[in-house]
Amino acid sequence: MEKFVGYTFQELLKALIGFIDVAGLYLALTQLTHRNISQNHKFQAVGLGWALADSVLHRLAPLWVGARGLEFTWDYILQGLEANANLVLSISLAALGSLIWLRKNKPKTLIPIIYACAGIVATMPSITSYLRRGLGWHFPKVVGFELFTSLVMAFISWQLFSACQRPYV
């Protein structure tokens, strides 16, 4: 019973962090105004910056402390790959976010898809931790899954973005 309680607390924490991601991206996209930057580049810049901050906070400390030991583990290489996947996911989330909040004239049919994709990308931390703890996947498998989904989501959001750009009627 205790294990279950601890498990859900961790999960709540991870979901909270995912939510903070979304909220932070919203703030960065809407509140911070840059006059001389087109919408295309804005989401890229925001996504890049967010991914950088995320990597530094989550991965720099363990890398500095752990990778200097005498023993070799694959963990840090995998964490690097995970950071790559995270970058792609952040950029696609920023793209979807910019679509949601910055572009007002979207084709009606695509709106639910946009929100659904944004939801999936936002809850990615919870999904990965569930895979690791609930299903007991090993770290390399989880990283592979993250890379795959990041590429898929990037492709989808790219398609959505270009679809929303077309109707300049």
Partner: protein, 562 residues
């Protein structure tokens, strides 16, 4: 005004505190710290100088790769540590290595569990005697050699067994199997060993006064019972010496207890004083005993009728030896021997007499009674060993663990000695009187013997590493004080022939390291991955031309200005 400003500032600090705490909390939730490798306790070979010559292992710090006995022939081991379990030890191989001074990074011997106190217990291991003899031989080899690299002992456990199996597998193939298991690195980060400044030896004596008849002005005769309590072995942190001379110490304490019971009542107090001596410096030609005797008043020394020294009385079957220096025809010796023989016959023990003349010019003192004999005091040593040991041999080393001592044997010796002494004191020689009969109030207490033997088997007692106020020495003093009227401690400095060095135990870290080629390979792979990623991104966002233009030199300025 100022108050609200203060409170505002205070609130601001609180808010920033909260955000810092929240940040730390989030970080902790996301960050998982990595664990290190295996770590085990290891014990170093002793390092000492004797008469200027260096012996033992001269280094303590270790930072080398591990190798097993299956190393490919001709391999360079000067930067490798050989891990040798005792069961697979080939003593001629080690002897060859040491005598021919072949270069080696270090040695790590793995001892089976039976030699440790916690895990030894009563496990029945076949070849127990064989292992014991092998370890004794190894110890003698290591103690008398000058080894220019660290030598450590450790007990076998699951962790190190798996590591050793892995190392053997890799060695057998000749090259490490997979890139990640390039090998194991053994690291012991200790500072350079330093000399132990003025090692002290502490002698403890307890005095039990006899009954003086009214009007008798003469000094009462004294009987001395002596045992040396310190040890010397290959690994000072493991030299518990259960048999040599833990058994002697335990027997002395029990005899003291029994006689204190007798002497507490004036009606049963004998006409002899009893002097109990726990001496130190035993392995070093009984240096402590010599200093103790020299400190005696001439009158006291002359009043000693005889002294019984107890040494190694814990693992005999049915034969004991009394060693003397005076010839057996001597009246006193005859009296002592007959007294012991009579009691021994009743108890079904065989007691033999061994005579060895002492040579005053030879500094070697093989048995404690010889120190008494050199000062013309009649003395004998009771021991289960018939031959005289060499210097630093049989002094309670690694192989002398609790497993090999039998408390019933000690109980029988206590009864033998106590009964013989009592018959001499109370004048019942030749009579069949059982003073310390089993089941009576004066019976020998096996529980007392067992508990003290267990304590002694867990306490390493190499004299230079026992300080003046060491808790164990204090415990011995207190115990003797309980059973005697007066206790004195004598602190002396161990004579200058011996110099000892510290750093007797450490913690060994075992790391699994990858080979250098693996590191380079990984660097190459990661570098190429990053380059590919970079060029992919540049091509997709700016086009192939941009990528190529990165490598082309910019058009030279000269053309423009011309």
């Amino acid at each position: 005004m100022a108050l609200s400003k203060n409170s505002g500032g205070h609130r601001g600090m609180q808010e920033s505190m909260y955000s810092v705490i929240a940040l730390v909390f989030i970080l902790v939730a996301c960050v998982e710290l990595c664990d290190a490798a295996a770590a085990i306790d290891v014990y170093r070979l002793i390092q000492y100088d004797m008469s200027g010559s260096a012996y033992g292992s001269r280094f303590a710090a270790l930072n080398h790769h591990a190798a097993s006995l299956h190393f490919p022939p001709g391999a360079d081991l000067s930067r490798a540590v050989l891990i040798i379990p005792l069961r697979e030890l080939n003593i001629t191989f080690v002897r060859e290595y040491i005598n021919q001074k072949k270069p080696l990074g270090g040695l790590l011997f793995l001892l089976p569990d039976i030699f440790s106190f916690e895990n030894g217990g009563n496990k029945q291991v076949h070849e127990k005697e064989q292992l014991k003899n092998l370890l004794a031989e190894l110890e003698q080899l290591l103690i008398h050699a000058n080894i220019p690299y660290p030598v450590y002992f450790a007990f076998e456990n699951d962790e190190i067994d798996t590591v050793l199996a892995d190392i053997k597998k890799n060695d057998a193939i000749g090259q490490p199997a997979t890139a990640t298991t390039g090998g194991y690195k053994l690291v012991i980060p200790t500072p350079e060993p330093k000399k132990v400044a003025s090692p002290t030896i502490t002698n403890i004596q307890g005095w039990l006064s006899g009954l003086k008849a009214d009007g008798d002005t003469n000094q009462l005769p004294t009987i001395a019972i002596v045992a040396s309590y310190d040890t010397f072995g290959a690994a000072p942190a493991l030299s518990v010496g259960s048999d040599s001379n833990g058994s002697g110490v335990v027997a002395l304490l029990e005899i003291a207890r029994l006689f204190s019971l007798l002497y507490s009542n004036p009606k049963t107090r004998g006409r002899y004083n009893l002097l109990f001596g726990l001496t130190s410096g035993g392995p070093y030609n009984y240096n402590g005993t010599q200093k103790w005797l020299r400190s005696f008043d001439q009158r006291l020394r002359e009043s000693i009728d005889y002294a019984i020294c107890l040494n190694s009385i814990g693992s005999w079957d049915n034969e004991l030896w009394i060693h003397v220096s005076k010839p057996p025809e001597n009246a006193y010796i005859k009296q002592i021997f007959e007294g012991f023989s009579n009691v021994a016959e009743e108890m079904d023990i065989k007691v033999g007499l061994k005579h060895k003349k002492i040579n005053i010019s030879n500094p070697r003192v093989a048995r404690e009674h010889e120190q008494f004999s050199r000062l013309r005091v009649t003395a004998a040593t009771l021991s289960e060993i018939s031959t005289a040991p060499e210097l630093l041999q049989g002094t309670g080393g690694l192989y002398d663990s609790r497993q090999f001592v039998n408390e019933t044997a000690i109980t029988r010796v206590v009864k033998l000695v106590a009964e013989s002494l009592a018959r001499h004191i109370y004048g019942h020689q030749g009579k069949n009187v059982q003073i310390f009969a089993d089941g009576g109030s004066l019976a020998v207490n096996p529980a007392y013997i067992q508990s003290w033997l267990d304590l002694l088997s867990q306490t390493p007692r190499v004299a230079p590493f026992l300080s003046k106020n060491d808790p164990f020495v204090m415990a011995l003093k207190k115990e003797l004080a309980d059973h005697t009227d007066e206790v004195n401690m004598q602190h002396e400095v161990l004579e200058g022939v011996f110099t000892f060095y510290d750093s007797t135990s450490a913690r060994l870290n075992i790391y699994q390291v990858a080979s250098v080629t693996f590191d380079l390979l990984l660097l190459l792979v990661l570098g190429s991955y990053l380059i590919v990623l970079f060029s992919f991104l540049v091509i997709t966002t700016r086009g192939l031309d941009d990528l190529i233009s990165l490598f082309r030199r910019p058009p030279s300025r000269k053309v423009k200005t011309a």
